[in-house]
Symmetry: C2
Subunit: 375 residues, 2 copies
């Protein structure tokens, strides 16, 4: 089957909604956070550890898997689920974002046909097209494939963005045409930068093509662009159908997840929880903490009091700090478990707040506490 | 309690024996292989993964934990078991081996009092004595502590070894005198290089001092010194008491474990299974294989057919190769699970062979198959 989205409840004071996604691997509640498994592995974690933090859909990167080990090998191994031993739903991105962000020397040649660029691994010439992206994703056999889009830089002009999103629409049509995996949903992507008319146009035209779900792309999530991100969501959401899932790509800061949910987003993904974990950082309700800090040397308390994750139930900060400062990979592994669980528990709490029509109060309380550490 | 060893059975045709070690954390069968958790972590693995491969005693390194995070911090955290969350027995070495192998620039000044050397991390001046080593191990609160000994290089002369082992005997007495942890056993170490008279003398004198168990130290395990290693065991074992456990330090090649067991050794430790795992190598009954090899690119079979470990039950060689060649730490983790399980299963099979008085036939069959890959 392809996925099905069912809206369960609309929050009274916001655009937030409760929903259920029916997938090949079970039914999951939204809003949901998706951990990222770039190269068919959520860095350092086993599938069992992902189930244990209640993860639902996870994301894998088409670009990375295309380069290594190659889509044909994953297909020969029985598809992504068998390959990485994950018995839950998997979403693959289109490779577009990586082509634009990782291409060697950032050199690329965007034509109507596709994008010429050099591999970031060995510099070899590569050519990715909308058809090729879908063909790779069909072979990977993920549950959700993404349309191949251009991801323009944040600095792109209105003119550039307009032309770019027109091309992305043509690419979306071409991709849909060749999409051939009957068990795989296909999502469209709304672009248009920070511009209201472009977002509206992109959303309406993408919906006209018709997809199983819609994502909002091209949002930067650095601190300076928060308002642009929130606007991009606000300008896109009203034109997306109620009965399809809405996915904000690449966003994982706790406050951004909350603001996204308030504006009607259902699913999120981000490398943040695992990336900061490897550098010794942990999310807590009182803000991010850095376990490299000498003040945790003898701290026998868990990373976060009251947290229900494996790490917090069994380990002291002093031990995790020891692992991180000596370069032991178990440190990043334990913090990855905590950080992913933190974001997933956040979405659980958001669902509860929506259920009670108290989402705005939840946000205010969360932000107040989350920023308390910065004082 | 301190540990207790009970001999259960003597093999008919060899020195091999079946036994049981009673510890603070349960009763375990010998012969046994102990995984190494250098810095209070068996690299990349969780305690649950160690229980799952049926590990019993694990080893942690006094030298490394003394330098980072420091014995006082481990003590404040509640001792090694609480610190690393391992609810099984832990043996700590004395730090001697690391002082002699890791000291910065290999510069060290051995006096009667102890060893002056520079930290391999930051070059600071350090001084380790028999008393200090025991004091650190008392604080770490391992279940078995080791006496501080000198580990002379393989090239050391007879004269040097003789003087060295006399000093090691004096150090052993000093260490025993200050040993103060009532729940911790203390083992003595037999030295003497490849010389029969020195091994005999060292063994007899060490036993006179009286320890809870005895280890055979100073054996190199490179391919050139196999005969020396086997001789060192043969020259030492006859003088060790039947009712105490015998530990061959730092040995983990499958064939050496078998030869050690045949000569009467009960327990072994080695970093080999985890170290080779990080480099993509796996033990199999047909010899070591290297997953970096391109021939495994599309190999959908497990690392070892018929293996009962988590890795072999769930993953294909092609996936593990992908993880190893892209530098994903899950690769080393999965191979570490397999390699440790391989050595522990080897000891299980050795126990079965001893039970049936078929150890020599088992060895011959094992070696024949293990070396088949090399043809």
């Amino acid at each position: 089957m392809k996925i099905e989205y069912e809206k369960i409840k609309q929050e009274s004071h916001t655009q937030a909604r409760l929903g259920k996604i029916k997938t090949n691997y079970g039914v999951y509640d939204t809003p949901m956070f998706m951990p990222v498994g770039t190269r068919a592995t959520v860095k350092s974690l086993s599938p069992e550890e992902l189930y244990d933090v209640s993860s639902g859909i996870i994301l894998a990167n088409t670009y990375h898997l295309w380069l290594r080990p190659g889509a044909d090998i994953v297909e020969k191994c029985g598809g992504l689920h068998r390959f990485m031993n994950y018995q839950g739903p998997i979403l693959t991105d289109s490779g577009g974002y990586q082509v634009f962000s990782l291409a060697k020397n950032k050199e690329k040649d965007i034509t109507e046909e596709g994008v010429h660029f050099k591999s970031h691994i060995d510099g070899q010439n590569l050519f990715l097209t909308p058809e090729k992206s879908i063909e790779i994703q069909n072979k990977l056999d993920s549950d959700i494939a993404m349309s191949f889009d251009e991801c323009p830089p944040a600095s792109a002009s209105y003119e550039y963005l307009k032309n770019s999103l027109e091309r992305t629409l043509r690419w979306a049509k071409r991709g849909k045409k060749v999409h051939a995996n009957p068990n795989q949903a296909l999502f469209g992507i709304v672009q248009g930068g920070p511009y209201e008319d472009l977002r509206k146009y992109s959303a309406m035209e993408t919906v006209k093509i018709g997809f199983d779900g819609y994502s909002i792309g091209g949002v930067a999530n650095d601190d300076e662009s928060k308002e642009d991100m929130y606007h991009a969501i606000e300008y896109s959401i009203p034109y997306l159908p109620e009965d399809k899932v809405r996915y904000l790509m690449g966003v994982g800061e706790p406050i951004d997840i909350i603001e996204g949910v308030i504006r009607g987003v259902d699913i999120f993904d981000c490398v943040l929880p695992t990336r900061i974990a490897r550098h010794g950082q942990a999310f807590t309700k009182n803000g991010k903490i850095n376990l490299n800090n000498a003040k945790y040397k003898e701290d026998v308390s868990p990373v976060e009091e009251g947290c229900d994750c494996y790490t917090c139930k069994h380990y002291q900060k002093a031990y995790i700090r020891h692992l991180i400062t000596t370069g032991e990979v178990l440190g990043g592994r334990l913090l990855s478990i905590h950080n992913i669980r933190f974001l997933i528990r956040l979405t659980e709490e958001l669902r509860e707040a929506i259920q009670k029509d108290q989402l705005l109060a939840y946000r205010d309380q969360f932000i107040k506490q989350y920023q308390s550490e910065k004082k």
